[in-house]
């Protein structure tokens, strides 16, 4: 077997494992013959182990040969020449994607083993693992994406599974509301992403990162764009990254994501999907290099988010919100590092942070026991006000800071009041206008649905 065949085989294996897993779990449910808990767990374990082994094998091969760039072509998924439309599926293995890929496999795999026991006997066990498979596939595709449309595909899969997992307990209202909120933030990010992708195609004629950034492997490479184009497209991409990573002003969704079962909160929001924005920025880093303004925007956005989250985390009294904002602090810093032109440091930062945060989130329910143990070790109640700086600020300032953090920077309120409200009001107005017109035209009751009595108003026998 030649080197090329082995590489291709490993490459296909990496991507096919989660795809087959998803197909297996999904089709079994579609066919009305869902797998048992045991076989679901076995299938998941097999897929993750195989994928992880292939990824590590790929890394080993690349290290041995000293290759820094291995593309795997799947060709055009959709191709309509008349419309100048193509959807080009291509995966690349390089210094950015391989570490991210191995990280995804390792964390998702561990959490899969965890969830298998944690969700034992749970009604939604199969649903959870179905979303899990979607998430894994999304993460793998997004890490390896070689074209912007491939990245978008992975990005969407992650977004979809994340929103569904937040709304996992769909018999209660809060998870559904919060899931929907996250979904809408993701839509905004997706729209920005999509426009950026189209603009990129428009500017360069294709979405291939290799073509876009010259031939040099990551993080070398130079984007074939003008500075102006880079700024425009870059800003859109930054907006997309901000939505996905919960940077300001979208930060409000991160604590809301804690509605799902502990393992999914841990790996998905605490560790992986929150870093997806950073991954995007790293992937398109040659564009950042082109425009100083753009880099500055990224730095400012990252630092502002980090500062905001570092303040907010201090007033959180519940462990999961605290961890969510702690994550956000680091994601902000990572973003700033990227803006400063660093490449490997943010990557290392992501890996370290993701591992640590996953462990902390998985252990979150053990907090009381941990605190008790620490108390016993220290021999006294734990110091409550563990904050060296707060003391130096004037009281008024401290109160202001406390309120700012307590209100979580007012970002959610601001979005509600100045974006969502006018939006809803506009559509209410349209609705009212329509009702008026239909009433006028039909010369009577405009809408039959007005007469329907809500089901909950009737009592069962």
């Amino acid at each position: 077997m030649t080197y090329e065949t082995i590489v291709a085989l490993l490459g296909y294996c990496v991507i096919l494992c989660p795809a087959v897993l998803l197909a297996l779990l999904g089709l079994a449910q579609l066919a009305g013959r869902p797998l048992s808990e045991r076989s679901t767990a076995q299938a998941t374990e097999a897929a993750v182990l195989l994928g992880l082994t292939a990824a590590i094998g790929m890394l080993a091969l690349m290290l041995m040969r000293g290759t820094r760039y291995v593309p795997i072509e799947f060709g055009n998924l959709v191709f309509i020449p008349e419309q100048h439309f193509h959807f080009h599926l291509k995966l690349i293995f390089d210094r950015l994607s391989v570490p991210f890929l191995i990280l995804s496999y390792a964390l998702v795999g561990t959490v899969g083993a965890f969830a298998n026991r944690y969700l034992h006997r749970e009604q939604g066990y199969r649903r959870f693992f179905l979303f899990y498979a979607i998430f894994l596939l999304g993460m793998v595709v997004a890490s390896l994406a070689g074209t912007i449309e491939t990245l978008f595909l992975g990005w969407e899969l992650v977004g979809l599974s994340s929103a569904l997992l937040v709304a996992y307990f769909h018999e209660r209202a809060a998870p559904v509301v919060n899931g929907q909120r996250i979904w809408s933030v993701y839509r905004v990010a997706d729209a920005a992403f999509l426009i950026a992708a189209v603009a990129l195609h428009h500017a360069t004629g294709e979405g291939d990162f290799a073509g876009l950034m010259g031939t040099g492997p990551w993080p070398g490479g130079h984007a074939a764009l003008s500075s102006q184009q880079a700024l425009g497209i870059g800003l859109l991409l930054v907006a997309a990254a901000a939505g996905k990573s919960g940077l300001i002003p979208f930060s409000g969704w991160l604590p809301r994501a804690m509605e799902g079962p502990t393992p999914s909160s841990a790996v998905f929001y605490g560790a992986l999907s929150v870093h997806l924005g950073a991954l995007l920025l790293l992937r398109v880093s040659p564009i950042l290099d082109l425009s100083l303004t753009l880099s500055a925007v990224v730095v400012v956005l990252g630092l502002a988010t980090a500062l905001f989250a570092a303040l907010t985390v201090r007033v959180q009294a519940d462990v999961k919100s605290a961890l969510a904002y702690a994550s956000l602090t680091q994601v902000g810093l990572i973003t700033a590092e990227i803006g400063l032109g660093l490449r490997y440091i943010p990557l290392i930062h992501i890996i370290g942070h993701a591992c640590l945060r996953t462990l902390q989130l998985l252990r979150a329910p053990t907090l009381l026991r941990d605190y008790h143990r620490l108390e016993n070790a220290i021999g006294a109640h734990l110091p409550g006000e563990h904050d060296p700086w707060g003391r130096w600020l004037p009281p008024r300032m401290r109160e202001w800071l406390y309120r700012f953090s307590f209100e979580r920077g007012y970002f959610d309120a601001w979005l509600d009041e100045y974006v969502i409200r006018p939006f809803v009001a506009l559509f209410r107005w349209c609705d009212a206008a329509e009702r008026r017109w239909t009433t006028l035209l039909s010369g009577g009751k405009g809408r039959e649905s007005d007469q329907v009595i809500a089901a909950h108003e009737e009592e069962p026998l």
Binding site: H120, R121, T262, V313, I348, A354, P365, N376, A455
Partner: protein, 1063 residues
Amino acid sequence: MAEPFSSFRILCEKRSPHVSDSATLASNGTDVGSFAGRVPTLPQAIEHAAHLLPSQGPITSFVHHNTLHAFEELPFHAALEAGSATYGSQPYLAEDQYRRELARGRILPQDLSAILIEDLGDDADALIGCLGTRYQLRLAMLQHPLRSGTDAEMRWFIAETSALWRFKDEVRPELQARAVGKTQHWVMRDLRGNGVAADPRLERLAAGLFEQFQADRIEHWNPEKWAGFTLHLLWRVCRSGVHGLAANPRHDVRRARHRDLLLAAGGPDIDPWVNKILIRFCGCFLDQGFAAWTLPHRNEGFWRAFAELYRQSSPIRGWMRNLPAELRRIEAAGLSPLESLAESLALLGVPEHETEEFVAQTLLALGGWAGMLWQMETNAEWTVHPAPAGSLCEYLAVRLLLERLALAHGMAELGLTGIELAELRARLRSKVHHGQRASVDRRAFAVFQLAQFRGWSPAELWRLSKAEWATLVHEIEEFSGVQRRRVYHLAFERHYRNQALDAVAAHVRRAPAPPVEPIFQFITCIDEREESFRRHLEEVEPACETFAAAGFFGVAMYYQGAADANFVPLCPVIVKPRHYVVEEVVYSLQDSHRRRAETRRVLGRASHRFHTESRTFFGGLLAAVVGPLASFPLVTRVLFPRLTSRLAQSFGRFVQPPPITRLDLERTADPPGPEPGHRGYSVPEMAEIVARILRDLGLTARFSRLVIVAGHGSSSLNNPHESAYNCGACSGGRGGPNARAFAHMANDSRVRALVRQAGIEIPATTHFLGAFHNTCDDSLAFHDLDRLPLSHQEDFRKASAALDEARGRNAHERCRRFESADFRLSPAGALRHVETRAEDLSQARPEYNHATNALCLVGRRAWSRGLFLDRRAFLTSYDPRQDDAEQTVLLRILQAAIPVCAGISLEYYFSRVDTDRLGCGSKLPHNITSLLGVMEGAASDLRPGLSQQMVEIHEPLRILFVIETSPAAMASILERHEVIRRLVRNEWVQLAVIDPETPRLHWYRDGQFEPYQVDSVELPLVRRSVDWYRGWRDHLGFASIVPAGDARGAPAPDGTSPPGAPR
């Protein structure tokens, strides 16, 4: 909506400041005098309402109690009704869950009919028209599920399914044939031809039907066509019958709160707005040291802290815009929180007589947090940050202030402008649609289904007069879903009760005789998890004897271990300990102890720093660098939990306190206190404790050479409810130190001398040994083995070998309940399995705790020894022959046992029947907050109660006490003790007594003891427990476990299967 543009305009106008806001006082000028008069009565109203709030304190010391404690004054079923009305909770399991129990034999048809007859009394034979008796009607309603739904659903069901074409599957063929036959007669005789012309009603009834069925070939119709025709006709008859009947008077839902009315009238739900702020604020206010910044002005109380936080703010949210101004106005007017509360009530138009109801409903809108505030204010002086007195009042004042602002905003959104808040309720009540109408389709469909089950033909129903129809519908509606579930519940309880009492009656005759000279004696807690342990121990070593007393063994103390930072109370929650006990490392090891304590302190500080710093800006940077190292514990913890914990333990051994310690147990100075010299007990106090416990146990003679006293507790990971798994008699603490202290006292020769004066002679050759049983990993640790006399080492070796074997078997029996444990596990494998569970981060069910508890036996072990109770029975030792005429000992035992066991049983009952409202829902999204409790997700109400994972296998039954005493003696105890009387009289628990002399049973029913008629005398007999429970996950029936040749007149063991078990 009156005008299409109004809503948009209001939304826009909201932002302009000149719109007068009826929530603020500026415009309407209510003066202080008009509400000041209410102020003095308010604290009392709030205190009353607070009784309705959950009474669970901080989760770190979890105490089981009756979830509906507020209604304990009422009889059980009435209390359930009141509870449903107050909390909107379910009183019983759902009907189909009971039906499932019926299908798998946990309820038998004879239980249902017996309960129904008993329930109806003389009314059972009342005739409903000519359609049979009330009993028959109700039985039919119980046996077959009646479908119902909304009107739209009903219409769909009739039109789209085969409901009018085929009889329901459950209808017996002969009933179908009868209905069809009668219909044929009726049709051929009356409906076709001349009969119709004579009766216009009949004509209307059959209109179009014959055409639809092509009646010209009526004589050649096949049976299916006739069935379809019969059902169509039946449906028409039912519809015309119930048409025009008056609606049953129905209790309207109490809607005292403006919010409920606003929501019902189509307005926005203001609770999420207000709750969002209050959840976060309560979390910060009650925080026990988690957040890095404490809430400013927290020490000045809830109101002050809130006012300071928002007085200078400029909120963005529309409904909160007026908050700062309003806070400043209240401050300028010099109103106290209580006065502000009174003012809010006045502004909201709540009249004085309604205050309590309104306050209660308002508090229940965020009941978990309000309850925690109340607990922290009244009952938590031992916590790091208790809440100041008056916190709940101040919370309510803040809440009503916010509600006022939110209501004003919500009103505007609904298009209600220009009215005062005080008028809002009246205005909304007139707007809200009153659903007081009887649904013809739903009523008709109920009768339609019943007619099939009971074999009523259309002709019979057609002849009913309107009055008879009214009676029929009334009868059906009277036996509502709740009533049917009540009957099911009673039948469920009856089945288990009869099985239990029959088993006791049968087993008493064949229980093996206790050993004459026991080789060792083993004393445990009364906890039902020790039942199997004792049984296995007695199987392994027939020459041993076991006893049980409440697991603090009379030693009520504040205890501090050698490695503990603080004192914790180890005694039932109703007892306030006076004594302090400290564990100390022996003198020769104190240097090493100090060194290790210092190391622990350094490590502890470092890891606490890391823990908090990893969430900060710069600390997090560092954490990210060492982060990849976290992947190691992450992966090993999840994939190899047992191995990882073993490794961690062996490393930890270097910093743990040295293994040889002693209790500072003897007090030399008065009064008792935590300082050296004042700690511990005086010798007479010790003697009193020892004598009392031995007397309670009935262990006053025949002491063996070794007596082991074992407290219990449970350890598990990733489990915020860990404390709930510990010993209930130690307020959710671990009972090891109590057992150790008791053994220590009983070994003291001065104590023994005093005990001898009390009439109990402990031989000098008897040695007591303390131990700790971990019910999660089934480990057993002995205390003070270094003080074991050389002469007793051989005894200990034997006993510990038996105990080792017993804990393996115990783990094996427990594993049968865990789906993830293979049936083929050996006892050693089972031990490994339960050890893994205890150390597994991902394990949501480390053990099943008190789940399945259903029984409490109080009496000598002699008659329960060898009875397989399936870990469902609390066992309390008591020897009536050693009690005095006033039953002093029994009263002493019961005044602890009945409330504690009832609390556990009822908490499990309510958490099981309504896990969402009365329990704490699923464990999976739980989020520890303020180090006090759990929320679901990032912002929800605090969730008291038990989780779905804890109660899923529980059968919600009221606990049945079987007490070895005479009915007269028990009656006298009921007279004397108020708490016991209330629980028993109001039927929160079930009670039976077994006569010490003749094994005759009486059970307590309707206020008196009645002789119990044994149902069945058959009780399976097997040699070993494992022969009975092997290969079966579900609940098991009773059985006698009698080793060969040890039964008194017992028949040879047979292989009878447990009911429902596969052979």
